[in-house]
């Protein structure tokens, strides 16, 4: 790296955090489909399945929010910090999910099949659904216009 290029150790990112608007949108959609998912899980696995499904959706949504929060918090400080925090954040979030499931696995209302299936289906389903609403352009880096809360970034 030559000296005239910015160093990722000292360069921070200013401006709005698009990942926060994306994750808020993911949470909104997750809460929208929560009753339907609980209903389906309830039909397949009974009431325990519905409770486990709600717990799994909450885990997935918290995971998305936490990932975005870590990135949004560290990005203005430095790019290298964002990378480090997000990589260790990945391990920490996996650990938190593991811990949360280990804590509840012996509870009477937990159906592990419902919990596991809902974690995968909700995580992937919400992401594929969200792709429809992502703009990822220079003017609108996050959500498409009309879907986002803040005004676009002016060049």
């Amino acid at each position: 790296m030559t000296s005239d290029q910015p160093s990722p150790f000292t360069t921070g990112l200013t401006g709005p955090a698009p990942e926060m608007s994306v994750s808020r949108d993911l949470v909104k959609r997750g809460l929208l489909v929560l009753p339907l998912l609980c209903l389906v899980a309830g039909v397949i696995w009974g009431m325990n399945g519905a409770y486990s499904c709600a717990f799994a959706v909450a885990l997935v949504l918290l995971n998305f929010l936490l990932a975005a929060l870590i990135m949004a918090w560290t990005a203005p400080i430095s790019l290298a910090l964002m990378m480090g925090a997000s990589l260790f954040g990945y391990l920490a979030r996996l650990g938190l999910i593991f811990l949360a499931v280990m804590v509840v696995k012996d509870f009477s209302w937990v159906s592990l099949q419902a919990l596991g299936c809902t974690i995968i289906v909700t995580h992937l389903g919400l992401l594929f659904w969200e792709l429809k609403y992502i703009s990822a352009s220079l003017a609108f880096p996050g959500l498409k216009p009309g879907k986002q809360e803040s005004s676009p970034i002016q060049p």
Binding site: E19, L94, L112, Q113, C117, I119, I134, G142
Partner: protein, 90 residues
Amino acid sequence: MEVLARLAAAAADPAEAKNIAAAGSAGFAYGLAAIGPGIGIGIIFGNAIEAMARQPEAAGMVRTTMFLGIAFTEALALIGFVVFILLKYA
């Protein structure tokens, strides 16, 4: 010593040996399932940060793509975790 005693007991009881092997295999599979996404996320971050450092005006776009890429990669680890949970406890 406790481990050796458990192994000796397991050798005497095939069902116990099978349980121990299943638990070890499930944990090993979960560990393996977490390695791939870890490497993938590292590659995504490395390239995204290089892109942001080269072209700061496109940082927002890169961050959005990076966030989604990480989330998709994480799904692999979650699948490994769920398989582990189902094999071990269900």
